[in-house]
Symmetry: C2
Subunit: 287 residues, 2 copies
């Protein structure tokens, strides 16, 4: 009956043998030996186990409607990016992490609308297309966009400064697969450091910064949903993103345009910056 | 720059290289590859990752001053027992899990006091000694005791039924290393199932029951602190404890005594049950 260090693992794994859902059974029966191997490998002490319990509890308690500290933890441990990489598209645009700020629904907007509701100093026009892997434009695709302000904060982080929905928009592609919006060039920014994940970064000498980027989720009937970012070329931290999410193919030039006529046509001050982005979706895998 | 499934692990591990505390660095640099290996092995999907984030968040949010759902999760995954086994005494009484109910300080009590403040039906006298590994009694050791009621609930689970401190006591050994208290025979009971850990047990077809036991933490100067249980011989679930904590050496006979004179001397109704327990502590490891 007595369980040793090794037989405990077998007993716990066996305890999940009657799990009705075979996938849940598979996941738990792999989780247990990996978790136990880790505990045995480092010979985790009781005070360290207690510290781990306190840390995980604090991570959970930091979460609320606008804050997802467990996603942040997954991000800084590279787990989010690993899951994205494993499940990423093979032929389409590369994916990257969802991040912790997709916490409110993006407001429906018309192509050409501005998602900058606070009047930033560095106007930017983003245009793009949603395409299938053969280059055919996808009409009626949704393009969910969210980004931080020029000061590096998302709307939900600054309820007194930004109206909810600032930096966010849900667009629909036109008959040529196009979408377009006005915004500001996002800033690089630190992930929130006022919680337990910030304490982890501090204790481990890691900086909390992410390079400047705009988030996208593109979705079209019959195609795989794409969650990705477009990074701003030249941004600091492209080589040391705190959440390991940069892929070369996702870095876009946000070039400056100095042309009063173009500025007038887009409804932005001159000069302005512009980026052009194609989001390529694979067809849904069949069964 | 682009990270593959494998190189992500190396990049995250490397990101912890500057951790000032060498033990924290060691733990994180082992945690990351074990966690990533698990994710790769099961090829965790995005919806599964999202479900894991939701689950862990719910575990954290279920915690409060009287409820520790992360300890419960650690318990049902066998991690708590594994940590105890790794760190257990070699020569003294075997240890077992702390459990999630050591959440309030046990009231100081005198030897012979009752920890049953609600008048249970099955009185029990527990006597014991705290000894070193050569059998020498340890004077002035503290013996922290907590247990559930005859109905299978701890005080903090039933604030309207049990006064806080019911089933709990902090005792000190006398000059012969002895401690003694009156109580009721604890019941087997289900771990709390009204939270996410309960949902996990339900989804995996596992029962939530623990065999009847009394918790002990014995502590004496110059000796290693012992966290253990004494299990009630004959209790249901001794062979399938939901938290894998049973060790044969920790099962004690709670024999019935039918002797009005003894009952009178102990201040309990006749007949009553009694258990005698020696708790053996190793000397502190030097250095």
């Amino acid at each position: 009956m007595d369980l040793t260090s090794e037989s405990t693992t077998a007993a716990v794994t066996e305890s999940f043998a009657e799990t009705a859902d075979p996938r849940l059974r598979e996941i738990l029966q792999e989780l247990v030996p990996h978790l136990h191997d880790f505990v045995r490998k480092v010979r985790l002490t009781l005070p360290e186990w207690e510290a781990a319990i306190r840390f995980l509890t604090a991570v959970g308690q930091k979460c609320d409607a606008n804050r997802q500290e467990f996603i942040l933890l997954s991000d800084v441990l590279g787990v989010s990016m690993l899951v994205e990489t494993i499940n990423g598209q093979e032929a389409g645009t590369e994916s990257t992490v969802l991040g912790p700020f997709h916490v409110v629904a993006s407001p429906e907007r018309e192509n050409g609308d501005s998602i900058d509701l606070v009047g930033g100093a560095n106007p930017c026009v983003v245009t793009g297309r949603v395409l299938d892997t053969s280059g055919t434009p996808l009409t009626g695709a949704t393009v969910d966009v969210w980004q931080c302000s020029e000061d590096g904060f998302y709307d939900v982080q600054q309820p007194d400064v930004q109206p909810l929905g600032n930096g966010r928009g849900l667009f629909h592609t036109d008959t040529e697969g196009r979408f377009a919006f006005r915004t500001v060039v996002p800033s690089h920014y630190p992930i929130p450091t006022d919680g337990p994940v910030g304490q982890l970064l501090l204790a481990t000498g890691r900086h909390p910064y992410r390079p400047a980027h705009i988030h996208f989720i593109a979705d079209a009937p019959g195609h795989r949903r794409l969650t990705t970012h477009i990074f701003v070329a030249g941004s600091p931290y492209l080589d040391s993103d705190a959440v390991f999410a940069v892929k070369k193919s996702l870095i876009a030039d946000f070039r400056e345009v100095d042309d009063p006529e173009q500025a007038r046509r887009h409804g932005v001050d001159n000069p302005f910056r512009t980026a052009s982005i194609d989001l390529v979706l694979e067809a849904d895998r069949v069964g």
